[in-house]
Symmetry: C2
């Protein structure tokens, strides 16, 4: 059994309004050689996690044949995931973090440079919206809280 402390409810500030921030990012016009290199993809995703202050718990990456990489990093703060389409110069990335320590937008900016992406966009959704009075989870659907 793991001894890593989870970023559970008790770690959230009492005035937090949600448990986590989920940034969904699309990277366009990337360097296809990077997108098709599983070692580089794993390295960049790992470095992005460390860059934004995350604590890495587990990693799994997979190279498809003939091309394309998928990978996930489980962090104490939730997870990062990537799927690449080198033939299109496109990567779909998820940066889901909980708590205040780890800013997914730092990882987004870092990866944009690593992939040589000429254009990128993100949308941020808040997950686990909290009721301010009793700090239970509000049962509401998502909304996009930020977008570029």
């Amino acid at each position: 059994m793991a001894v890593t402390t989870p970023l559970g409810f008790s770690d959230c500030k009492k005035n937090a309004t949600y448990l986590g921030r989920h940034v969904l990012a699309e990277f366009f016009e990337c360097d296809s050689n990077v997108l098709n290199n599983p070692k580089l993809i794993e390295r960049y995703m790992t470095d992005a996690a460390l860059e934004c202050g995350a604590t890495i718990v587990e990693k799994c990456f997979h190279m498809f044949s003939p091309y394309g990489v998928s990978g996930v990093i489980i962090i104490s703060e939730s997870h990062f995931a990537i799927h690449t389409w080198p033939e299109l110069g496109y990567a779909a990335v998820d940066l889901f973090t909980c708590g205040e320590k780890c800013d997914p937008r730092v990882a987004y900016d870092f990866l944009k440079k690593c992939f040589g992406s000429k254009n990128a966009s993100f949308s941020q959704l808040n997950r686990g919206i909290l009721d301010g009075k009793d700090l239970s989870v509000e049962q509401t659907p998502f909304y996009i809280s930020a977008q570029n």
Copy 2:
């Protein structure tokens, strides 16, 4: 190197308008004993993937101490991910699938029953929007295409 065929661009129907569907689901009022059981969580997520026709490639699951489970399944069609907050009876789940074979909403319905969730909501976003003429990826931000 893996020999698993990726669900790359060539697998998409020529009249497809996006590469993948990403369902973000929130499960409320779940059975906390289930949410804090890593073996059950792994089993249910695996079964959900199989139920909706996905091809499982890699899995990693992690139990936090004293409570909470995080896990990811990489599938040929992208990935499923889960993070649980047993103390709140809440689970945040991602069901990202590409191509037509695999319906993430089937997995969503399946998991709602497995978790004993009394209420749940999802939002679906399309990822990798394709330009209809030349089938390149359109460089546009997300929009929520379906929600309950």
